[in-house]
Amino acid sequence: MRNMCSVLHYEFKMQFQRLAAWGVLLAAAALSLLDNFPSAGNLARLEFLNEPAYFVYRIVSLDSLVLLFGLMFLLAGRIPLDAKTGMKSLLMASPLKKWQYVLGKLLGGFLYVFSMLCIFLFLNTAVYFIGTPFKISLIECAVPVVKAVLASFIPVSLFVSFCSIALPGMIDIRFFYVLAAILFGFNAAYVGSAEAMPFYLITSGDLARLIWVHPGWPFVDMGSVIANGCFLAGSGFVSGCLLFLKHRFWRSE
């Protein structure tokens, strides 16, 4: 357990020191504020921007996708890089077990993605709260933020981190990029509607409807919400398990 925590701690700390990740976070934050800052122009363009829940919904369903896409690129190299630099051979020569290494990497990645998403949302919401021209209470902002963190960020972080770390350990990293780009691109291009969203969407699936619903379409299809959550969490878990099942990945124990 201690070994696994060491791997997890190293992964988490190491990722936070990467400048590229902060660059992506700043770019995503700039984009989201250009799109959603409660300026007169944006308030005239977006009908519900005066509702904090709508603001959080937009940040989660649209703008966090850019951050996640960048983090996916950065996390995907974690296991191939260890193999390339010889670090994996060194670790295999130590008493570290396969499950400790894999679980440390996966959980480190998960905590990292989750933390970055939370920082992104808190930063945007703080700017919205300070910059808004009308009066809103802190609780009005806090409730959708908590909903977003619990209902959306946990499954989304699980999906992005586990898939990005585990799959390039088994398939060519470039092939993984192509597959991920198709899914992210589809998510970006999909236009919302009153009907249930496809379950395989990452951030704009029906899980996001737990944060805010359009007053014109006030229903929430719980079946679709559960399907979206199961897809995200399930795909993450399955990707992680595949790495455990690959015998040639580690020395024989």
Partner: protein, 211 residues
Amino acid sequence: MKERIKSEVKIFGINFFLVSAVFTTAVIVLSATTGELLDFYPVSFEVAFPFFAAIAAGEWGKTGADSNFDIIAAQSSSLFKWVLLRYLTAFAISSLAAGLGMAGASVMRYEMPLWELIVIYLPPAFFLSSLCALSGLLCRQEHIASLISGVIWLVILLTRSLLRFPGLEYIYLFIRFAKAPDNVWLWNKGLVTLAGLFLWGVIYRKCKRMG
């Protein structure tokens, strides 16, 4: 020249061809199975394939991230020629895959003539892959070039609504996908190609300084 291309193809490895084949086959199969509601050609050949060309230029045709880059920069007679040839080889192979995809998709369904498909594919592919080539030269870390062009690709996809501002339809990368007016898209493609050429001007200057 022929030997250099052969050597570049060897450096790329078999995975490049396997991934290209799988991606092209997937596009052809999708062209037969997707419904009529989707504008399949712009989605595939203006959005998806150009990003594949960028990944090919950034990942297989890597320059600054190549472990021998310093030796090549110091000893090569012209760094720019080396960068250009590596880029052209990666871009040509990915464009060949796109061409096969276009031909296959045209057999399965007909939305527009082949020449139009080539015109909607080439400028964004050239721009995104040139951006990848420039980022690869500026950032020595692996995968950063793909990250930069990937994030820009996604941001452009997400900001389709910005087309409400007059003039943006001339530079928006995925103009046919965004369903802009008919008289604009050829101008748009020309301007995007010019932007790609400008990036190559920057690459040339950077190579001159490095070399």
